[in-house]
Every structure is written in C-alpha cells, then in structure tokens.
Subunit: 264 residues, 2 copies
Amino acid sequence: MSPKPATAVREAKGLELHFALTVDVVLLTVRQGRLSVLLVERRNEPFAGRWSLPGGFVEPDEDIEAAAIRELAEETGLDRFPPGIHLEQLRTFGRPGRDPRGRTVSVAHLAMVPDVPLPRAGDDAARARFWPIEDLLTEDAPRLAFDHDEILRDGVERARAKLEYTSVALAFVEEPFTFGDLRRVYEAVWGVELDHSNFRKKALDNDGFVVPLGREAPREKGGPGGRPADLYRRGSAFWLERAIIRPRGRHESAAPPGPNGVPR
Amino acid sequence: MSPKPATAVREAKGLELHFALTVDVVLLTVRQGRLSVLLVERRNEPFAGRWSLPGGFVEPDEDIEAAAIRELAEETGLDRFPPGIHLEQLRTFGRPGRDPRGRTVSVAHLAMVPDVPLPRAGDDAARARFWPIEDLLTEDAPRLAFDHDEILRDGVERARAKLEYTSVALAFVEEPFTFGDLRRVYEAVWGVELDHSNFRKKALDNDGFVVPLGREAPREKGGPGGRPADLYRRGSAFWLERAIIRPRGRHESAAPPGPNGVPR
DNA sequence: GAAATAGTGTCTATAAGACAGTATAAA
DNA sequence: TTTATACTGTCTTATAGACACTATTTC
C-alpha cells in the first residue's frame, strides 16, 4: 500500500489529525569503561540551550523507525550505522503538556552502539556529546529538555535488564572482540565487577552467543601487560538460553505505581 | 501545566499536526483454563464486520493511558476495572498504510484481568467476546482488522515472558485465591503442565508474591473431590526475586530481524 | 472404597559463585 | 622480577526438577 499525500490524509473521512509525532533516541555506548548516552544541546525553543535526547518530528509519510535513524544521522553525523547496532522501541510518551508548543507524542527508542567517534553537531543541535550516565542520574545533574530525564531512566533500565537475557551486549563491541571487552561492557552497564572465570563459563554456556575465531589478540604497546586474549565474533543467537544474571538484587525494587495505581 | 485547546495547538509555531492517534488494547484473561483475548466485531468501515482489538482515537487533550481505559469501557462495558488489573504499554504501531483512511499511529496496550463477566457491546462495536488464543494464532484463524494480528502476537508473547519474572499472573485471579488457581493461570498462559509441588515451592520462595490468609477454601458441591486448599491474597512485590521459569526452551527462537536488519 | 486435589518432604542433576592455579605478555 | 591480564579447573552451595508420601474432600 502506497502512502497517501498529507492533503488526502487530512481530508480522509472521519480522521482528525490532532497530533504531532516525534521520535527520541536514547543512544547508549560504553566509553572509557562508563555507560554513556548521546545528548545534543538544543539550538531552538523550547528549551533552547538545554541538553536533550536526539530526536525530531516524524514526516507525514515516514515510518517511525526510519525517522529515528534519520534523526540520529541529521543530529549527530552518525549517518552510517556501524554493523551490529541495536535499535528498538522503548515506550511512547504523550502526556498532554509535555511539549509547551502543543500536543506532541514521542515514540522513544533505545539504541546501542560500539564506542564510535565523537559525533559532529548537525542542523538542529548546537553541540552533541556523550555524557556518562552516572553524571546524569543524580540529584544535581543538569535537567534535560521535555520529559527526557524520564525517557533516559527508562532506556538505561531497559538496557540493564536486556543484557541479562539477550545478546544485546554485543552491540557495544566491535569485532573482533575478547572476553575482556565483553565483560567490561557488562561491568560498565551494570556498574559492578564480575568474576573473569565465571563470566566466561556462563557466556560459553550459551550456544550462538559468541563464536571463537581461534586467533589471539596482539597486545597494544604502551598498555598494560598480560596474556593475549582469544578473539571472538558475534554469534547468531539473540535470546540467551541461560541468562547472565546481575549480581545481588536482580531488580532493585518495586516499580512505582502507574496512573492506574498498578506497577508497570 | 494545563492542556491547550486544540485550536491553539493547531496554530502553535512550527508544529504541524499530521497524525491521528489511536490506542488498541490486548485484554487477556483466563477462561475455562484457556488464555483468551477480548475482540470486538467492527461496525464501521474500514474492516466492517472483521474482528479487532478494542480501541479508538485518543482525544486531543487526553492522556494516552486514559484513552485506553476509556475505550475499554466504551466498547466492552468494562467501565469499572476490577482491583488488581494490570495495564501497560506494549508498542506503538505506525507503519504508513496500516490504516486505509490515512496516517494513524496506534499505541498498543496490554491488559490482564480476572475472568470477568461477558462484556456487552458498546457504541463502536457490534459484538464483543473473548476468543481463546489457540483459536486465533493458527493458519486458518480469522484475520483481524488492521495489523491487529501482529499486535496480538506481541501482547501474548509479552504476557508469557512477564509471568516469569514479575507477579502479573496475580492480575488474572480474584482474591482470595488458591495455589491451584494461580498454577492454572501459569499453565493456561504458557500452555504447559506444571508440577504442583515445585510450583508452590518456587512461588513461596519469592517474598511478597502471595500472602497466606490462613483459611481454607470450602470445596464446591458437584465438583471434583480433593482436600480444601489454603487461601492467599496478592502480595506487594511486583518483581520476583527468583524467576518462575517456563519449562523447556525459555525463549522459543531468535527474533526475526527488524527493518534495520537487527533482532528486536 | 476409589478418585481427585492439596500439602510436605526427599533425592538427584545442574547451575552459580568463590577461588586456586597456570600461562603469557609489558615494564 | 613484578605486575597485569587471560585461561583452566575445582570445590561448595543453591536451585530445579522428578517424584514419593500424607491429608482431606466428593462420589
């Protein structure tokens, strides 16, 4: 089915077009051992000068996911997505009043990428940079534009949970990678230290998670010493047969009740 | 912040309102030992006469979740939600062309309720009834309106997964309930048989999952015999400390790749 | 009595976690 | 040599699953 022009849509019988639709993206990466998110400094009102998640309006005949990819490219210069990138819908935020300009509904996305080069600022963003999560989810952190603080918290929690039972951690590393690389991803996202030996055992217990390349990584000169590590590439499995569970309380606490008085 | 009238919204600077916004609800329940979903027969075009998920347009100044609750009430007569009901966002569907009338974006929701009385048809729906899931997810099942087949599959899979690591199964039972009641919920949603003894052990291992009431249920006359069961009510925990895992392959298979070539 | 359902306990296989020991590199 | 990292194996404990046994009801 081909999309209709906006004029035809507007005149369609019984269809009232009251909403502006946007996409926002929580783009996570691991840099220098810290889970970080890409933020852009807003150039225009509302919230000019405030930091926000990259995003923008969906075009009238554009698919939602395509809009998320396009906005990432326009605002950050990430115009060619690295292989293995993960992109999924997070949740849709549509509280009346969340945008002072009027009724906008935002489909939030979660993306995970390897440690890519620093993005350049695009048309809509004055500046774009990665922020360590630990510098944002505190009391005295800068408040983000719109309801992006809430979206960011949702995205981080989704990522932390999803590392347990899927292979999305692989989206954070570039091939080939070592078990050390992969373990440091888990440690950065979860903010914990993991036992080398047990981590390897659990990862290898999951068929199709990682594939050994049978070679050894040369150590970088100037770095620390140590035995060269075996190299791996991403396997084909998405769901892990045996979850790699976070140490301690697997889920921190009970979720806050939603508007209906029900935990989400 | 108070919502603005639609006219003000439409004239807001730089805000083009190209989208109609709808909500759809996958309302699940367990009836006669079978996981079932509420469907309504459409009265109006498009897809008049086809079965669809209950749902409809979000009003210009209405919160999205409130719209989901309102539509359920209007279309099904479920105007007073039973206590313990669960309602959460599922995913947003916005492919251009999914609604032949023009560009509509639907925020799909997942709801779980106890075995409530048969709903009555409302204004927008000719008929409303519960359909067993097993009669819908097969090859020769009736095709639902719009992309509701896909939404339904998403909702059922979400519910099946969420029974493992949260207490949402409690949304399917009325208080007080027995371990037999609760076990039959898991069996119906997962389509498996569970060992009585081990199920009880695992449920009781989770603090705050269920609370014993210290009384015994009288057996119904006319039914099968058996020792009267202890009664329980819902506990306060939402996340389960120790997941109650499905037998066999916990996740059936790898997810199909999304538009970006990446599993969701 | 038989059949059905509920509650309790026990045994075994497996998985999780702690940790010791060996291997190979840089400085 | 010391330090740092990687790989391998072992031991203990915890959990999962199978299943036996008892308890209390209907028919």
